[in-house]
């Protein structure tokens, strides 16, 4: 459930089980059934600034790794006696297995919020250490990192949903972006755009089932709900999900939808041609006008999402990551010092979000979870030229402040895409009704995932 800067599929999902017939169960023999997992341990003591030692930290590869590398340099200056081995690792493929086996563990790692709840028993309980920062940290981020009242991840990025729109096309159609306050307003705006240009299908709806479900969760999360409650029970059969699914059906019935895969060629073509002009999506969509769009560069703007009810929350989260410390880490206290520096100390979060060699204007694809790092009057990244010089920081942090808290993301969330994600696609294709999406998905998720968790 992490945000992506580029179009991606789930090709990162490990390398287990190629043609896994019975004989391929061999590697499993290394961890015989019956071996008990370690009890979650509580990390409480904070080492002094003169702490010494060596830690291994895992991170994703790519540009984000380079950004963190620079930020870790700042940490090294603050804590010269701590040696940090910062490693780029295929975390999705490796971390869960490493936590289970307990061998060659890092002292800390970046991880999707969606995966933390399912592995809490292998992680340090960080509740006491986070306590001083708790009141000022996003309620949503705390909620997804909390299992049975204990916090297992250091909340890192917050990915608020925004409404991305083509300013020029809305102006031509006589639509005032400031007036898009509810989702009914958004449908009305889409109709106006199509009246102006009959070829327009202004609203983007996602064709990739995984991202589609992530998008659905953003829209539901905006109303304070999520696929599973705090006990891991499915709560799809609710007024909030019906609101979203009925709204999607209305948009489809009115032929207002461009149904394409996130930033694939067909999507880009529809964005460039003006066929798509309204994209409710996470802040990380800012990547598109900055890196991918040519004709549309400078014409897109961001606004808070519309609300589901007048005066309701103007954003929901779409993805996000945190930092974890394995329960069997060798130097957990030192890893905590690093994460405390990156998440809660000004030189740390500024080094990540501020201008860098990789992102000269700063990292614009998310905002910090920690309130003091998210002040509207103290932007960490600069106005974005590809958005006509808009102050994206202010829009994003204002939206982020309204995101309601949720519940821990269940370990089976990604698997539920086979049911809910696919049924959502059927709804967008006009092959399924909202109530059927809810009934069928609930039944299958319950039988195949919840009952067997």
């Amino acid at each position: 459930m992490s945000r992506s800067f580029v179009p991606r599929r789930s090709v990162l999902r490990g390398a287990l089980g190629v043609g896994a017939l019975a004989a391929t169960a061999g590697p499993l023999a290394a961890c015989a059934p019956g071996s008990s997992g370690s009890e979650p341990r509580k990390l409480t003591g904070t080492p002094s600034a003169s702490a010494k030692g060596e830690i291994t930290i895992w991170n994703r590869s790519g540009d984000l790794f380079k950004v963190f590398d620079a930020a870790i340099d700042a940490f090294r200056k603050a804590y010269p006696d701590i040696k940090v081995n910062h490693q780029a690792v295929d975390i999705d493929a490796k971390l869960a297995n490493t936590l289970i086996s307990g061998t060659d563990l890092p002292d800390g790692s970046f991880w999707d919020d969606a995966k933390i709840g399912g592995q809490a028993e292998h992680l340090y309980d960080l509740t006491d250490l986070i306590a001083p920062y708790r009141d000022k940290t996003s309620a949503y981020k705390l909620s997804v990192n909390t299992v049975d009242g204990r916090i297992y991840g250091v909340p890192w990025d917050l990915d608020p949903g925004l409404l991305w729109y083509r300013e020029d096309l809305l102006e031509d159609a006589g639509v005032d972006p400031a007036g898009l306050k509810t989702y009914d307003d958004l449908l009305a705006a889409a109709r106006s755009l199509r009246e102006k240009n009959p070829k327009a299908r202004p609203l983007h709806m996602e064709k990739d089932p995984f991202l589609g479900q992530l998008w659905l969760e953003m829209l539901a999360g905006q109303q304070g709900t999520s696929l599973a409650d705090a006990d891991g029970q499915v709560r799809l059969d609710s007024k909030e999900y019906r609101n979203v699914l009925n709204w999607i059906r209305d948009a489809v019935d009115d032929d207002l939808v461009t149904h394409t895969e996130y930033l694939k060629q067909a999507d880009l073509a529809a964005l460039e041609s003006g066929q798509q002009a309204l994209v409710p999506w996470a802040v990380w969509w800012s990547f598109a006008p900055q890196q991918l769009l040519k004709k549309g560069k400078g014409k897109w703007r961001a606004a808070p999402l519309p609300a589901w009810t007048p005066g309701g929350a103007r954003s929901g989260a779409m993805g996000g990551s945190s930092f974890i410390i394995p329960a069997k880490a060798k130097n957990p206290e030192l890893a905590w010092l690093l994460y405390e520096f990156l998440c809660f100390k000004e030189p740390g979060y500024s080094a990540v979000y501020g201008p860098s060699e990789v992102y000269p204007g700063g990292l614009t694809t998310s905002v910090p979870s920690y309130g003091p790092a998210r002040r509207p009057d103290k932007p960490l990244f600069e106005p974005v030229a590809a958005l006509g010089g808009q102050d994206l920081w202010k829009v994003a942090v204002d939206a982020a402040d309204t995101i309601p808290s949720a519940a821990p993301i269940p370990a089976w969330w990604a698997k539920s895409v086979d049911y809910l994600g696919n049924n959502l696609q059927r709804l967008i294709e006009g092959k399924m009704a909202p109530d059927d999406v809810i009934d069928d998905s609930t039944k299958k998720i319950q039988r195949n995932l919840v009952d067997r968790a």
């Binding site: 599929r9 789930s10 090709v11 999902r13 490990g14 287990l16 089980g17 190629v18 043609g19 896994a20 017939l21 019975a22 004989a23 391929t24 169960a25 061999g26 499993l28 023999a29 961890c31 015989a32 059934p33 019956g34 071996s35 008990s36 997992g37 869960a96 297995n97 289970i100 028993e121 292998h122 064709k207 089932p209 694939k264 060629q265 067909a266 073509a269 089976w412 698997k415 086979d418 696919n422 696609q425 059927r426 299958k444 195949n448 067997r452």
Partner: protein, 311 residues
């Protein structure tokens, strides 16, 4: 014979006989062959037999890769046998089998007959051309497939457009995703089928054909009455091996479609993998054994159907 010099000294004659070999020495000649083959059995026991027994044990538990493994009897098996997705994955594999195996046997046999013809020019080049996809890494080929069959910018749709045909959603429509994957599998493995069939054809003595020709048998008659019966065993072998491969097919859908759209390319192998990915190892193990039983039964059936009456 009177010469004392020719008589062996008595001392030597009465010298005590060499000590009789002990029990261990007597065993040595018998042990040696076993010691020679032992490395195979040790490796087989460690990496073949033990995992098999382990997986069988696992299939009766709810083990998730950590914590205690609780014995749950046949629950994993009953779950799978009543699961829509399990049967759907087998149905997908069965359709893939129909799209692949008959086509491959017919096409492979035709190509092998052509390549066996000594008068064919550039025979070596053709042989290399057929074998090349077989030795190319599958993941690389799968990436080519993704690009070539992309709806928006793929080469195949571009060619379709050139002759006035509309775009086809090759990998994103339930109607076309399976044939597109089957084509990838055929492209990759038909070279292997040709090798096997060519070897079978070349094992047929030339004088059999000469005798048939003298008796007035046409080329067509020779094919149906000689070639086909004589390569029957090679065909049976291929059917068994490819049945195994199709039902275990994993990498092709994993890389190209991830089982989509709507699970229409979720094969038996990929469905099994998804249990392992979700750390549901008990269900994964049970799924393995159900798949093994099915493939075993299908292989047995294929061999029986292809067995000649005199065998």
């Amino acid at each position: 014979m009177t010469s004392g010099t020719l008589t062996p000294p008595r001392k030597e004659r009465t010298a005590p006989a060499a000590p009789r070999p002990g029990r261990s020495s007597r065993r040595r000649p018998f042990l040696a062959p076993y010691l020679f083959i032992a490395p195979f059995y040790v490796v087989f026991a460690a990496f073949g037999l033990y995992p098999l027994v382990f997986a069988l044990q696992l299939s009766f538990t709810d083990w998730k890769g950590a914590g205690a493994a609780n014995f749950i009897g046949l629950e994993n098996y009953t779950y799978l046998l009543t699961s829509e997705e399990f049967w759907s994955s087998l149905g997908n594999s069965a359709v893939m089998w129909l799209l692949i195996v008959p086509v491959q046997i017919v096409g492979g046999l035709a190509a092998a007959v052509l390549l066996a013809n000594a008068r064919l020019r550039l025979r070596g080049m053709f042989r290399v051309a057929f074998i090349a996809p077989f030795v190319t890494p599958l993941v690389a080929m799968a990436q080519v497939w993704i690009v070539a069959f992309d709806t928006d910018y793929g080469l195949v749709n571009h060619l379709f457009n050139l002759v006035g045909l509309p775009d086809v959603d090759w990998l994103q429509s339930t109607a076309w995703a399976k044939p597109t994957l089957a084509l990838l599998f055929l492209w990759k493995t038909t070279g292997f089928a040709i090798i096997i069939l060519l070897a079978g054809l070349q094992a047929v003595p030339a004088d059999v054909y000469e005798a048939a020709a003298l008796d007035g048998a046409s080329r067509k008659r020779q094919f149906w009455s000689l070639t086909l019966p004589l390569v029957r065993r090679s065909i049976a072998f291929l059917v068994v091996v490819q049945t195994l491969a199709v039902f275990q097919m994993f990498a092709e859908p994993f890389v190209v479609t991830q089982g989509g759209p709507y699970g229409s390319t979720s094969t038996g192998g990929l469905y099994l993998y998804n249990h392992i990915l979700a750390s549901d190892l008990g269900t994964g193990a049970a799924n393995s054994f159900l798949l093994v039983l099915l493939v075993f039964a299908l292989s047995l059936l294929s061999v029986r159907l292809l067995r000649s009456r005199d065998e």
